[in-house]
Amino acid sequence: MRLTQPIRHSRLGPLVSYGICYLILIVAGLIFVVPYLLAALASLKQLNQMFSEPPLTLPHPYAWHNFVELFQQDNFGRFLLNTVIVAVSIALGQVLFCSMAAYAFARMEFPGKNFLFVVFLSTLMVPNIVTTVPLFIIVRDAGMLNTLPALILPYVSSSAFGVFLMRQFFLRIPEDLISAAKIDGASSMQVLTRVIVPLSRPVLMTFGIMSFVFGWNNFLWPLIATNSDSARVLTVAISAFQSSSGTQWNLLIAGSIFSLLPLVVLFLIFQRYILSSVQLSGFR
């Protein structure tokens, strides 16, 4: 509301109101990016510089070795690999399995369809933490604690959001195209792979990227389910840097940058798909 007032009172016409708009947007924009920039700066400082000088001074010398240390001493190469494996597997698995389920919901008739769909959707209200304890027990008894599959399997085919998102998209595909394929003798699998999938590239990309980001950022479950370097992912590694006996802030922040940067790059490349997730989820 406060934002609309200056506009109403402006007598100088659109110029002033645009000026105010720009000002607000520039300030807001700065708040959004400044943490990234500050962190990038800090990640290149030596620890004693971080303590002895104001935060905005330039690093001297540039401590590139912070990143080298992450790899050589702290095994970040391994954590990165683990994170990539987990995130990629979750993304591919979710895209695959959710599109199959979405196809069934969108284009097939079977008993219990509406019931199943409602059950799927209602799982969206279950908070993650609620299932964590039983999940831990299930994974422990399966002997999978501390392995990467333990970080992948719980998510790979249980995304109701993915089913919903894709079902909605598949519903919009003209029936004619599907009928035509069927008349040509296409099986249901062929309809999915030759007609629906090619037409649904945007939604598959969008959902795939979102799943990837989810896998990349996931923290609570990996924190509980893994305890060794062999299955440690970046988020857990970062949190393990905080220490009650002297935190190495420079490494902690360098590690954080290391986890954020790939996502920034991903975002800039696939911006179009990511922004369209809003439209895809039904708001227009």
Binding site: L124, T132, F219, F283
Partner: protein, 327 residues
């Protein structure tokens, strides 16, 4: 708060919100399609659904039932569980820690959702006008949405560091001694809430932007001709027409705000004292640091019920107001 909610829970609630519509839509279409799909055997459909049904059953539905069962037992994950009846719930409702934790959680949800909705609507209104640089701003604003919460929590923790952090250094320049943001009772919770708002503001804005663009311009022009001021037209026309978006945004924000864990874990670890001991964090602590599995399960059930009630109430509340939906 972690992206799981952003992805699985967030738009999902909308799903269940308009779920009824979708189901109705599907039902509406059924007669038309069933003729062409006549030969599709339903066994095939279940085959396609199998992975998702199994995944949901094993990793969501069974755990939900298990957590309810476990809440009636005492167990430390090691020996065998002993039946405890309602003891865990009794302990819980008598514990001052639980009520403190509940209060903090509710405060946190209010501190995140209210600013999120107001600010993101404000930004969307600004951005809804045509001008250069709007798309650049949009990109920048959405960037934090993808940020790893653990990593961004660490960075903000450093920025808010009372002694070496950027904010207090800047405040010192203008002669103000900044507070201990994350280690004082007064500021810890608002500071963690701020980081949440920072992260999801841009993404929320996208929904309002989409909602605004869905409002036909002729309605506003007509109002203008009738002599309505900008303010009047905002409150009488824009806002009511945005109510579906509003419902959606509030519900997803509340549900995911209730689930904040990552930033609390790295920024405050539930402290100082119990100032940021959100229920979510409390469950984690009781389950995996103290191995009070039964108690943690009872807490989980309570959290789940709270979320169900809140979601339900919001639908009832907004149902009457959705009449403006131009559908």
């Amino acid at each position: 708060m972690s992206l799981p909610t952003a992805i699985s829970a967030q738009p999902g609630t909308q799903a269940s919100g308009s779920g009824r519509n979708w189901v109705r839509n599907a039902a509406g279409r059924t007669p038309r399609r069933s003729s062409s799909n006549h030969r599709t055997r339903w066994g095939v459909a279940y085959l396609y659904l199998l992975p998702c049904i199994l995944g949901t059953l094993i990793f969501v539905l069974i755990p939900v039932i298990a957590v309810i069962v476990l809440s009636f037992f005492h167990w430390n994950l090691l020996g065998s569980p002993t039946y405890a009846g309602l003891n865990n719930y009794e302990t819980l409702f008598r514990s001052s820690q639980f009520w403190q934790s509940l209060r903090v959680t509710v405060e946190y949800v209010v501190m995140t959702v209210v600013p999120l909705v107001i600010l993101s609507l404000g930004l969307a209104l600004l951005l809804n006008r045509k001008f250069a640089g709007a798309s650049v701003f949009r990109t920048i604003a959405v960037l934090p949405w993808l940020a790893t919460p653990v990593a961004i929590g660490v960075i903000w923790e450093w920025i808010f560091n009372p002694q070496t952090g950027v904010i207090n250094s800047a405040l010192a320049h203008i002669g103000i001694q900044g507070p201990a943001w994350l280690s004082s009772f007064a500021f810890a919770l608002p500071t963690v809430a701020f980081v949440y708002v920072w992260q999801y503001l841009g993404y929320n804005m996208l929904f309002f932007l989409a909602g605004l663009q869905g409002i036909p311009t002729h309605i506003q022009e007509a109002a203008k001709l009738d002599g309505a001021s900008r303010i009047q037209s905002f409150f009488r026309i824009t806002l009511p027409l945005l109510s579906p978006t509003m419902l959606f945004v509030i519900v997803i924000d509340m549900i995911s705000s209730f689930q904040t864990f990552d930033t609390v874990y790295v920024m405050t670890n539930g402290g100082p004292g119990a100032a940021t001991n959100l229920i979510n964090f409390s469950i984690y602590q009781n389950a995996f640091t103290y191995l009070n599995i039964g108690y943690a399960s009872a807490l989980s059930v309570v959290l789940f019920v709270i979320i169900l009630i809140i979601t339900g109430v919001q639908f009832l509340f907004f149902r009457n107001r959705l009449t403006y939906d131009l559908g």
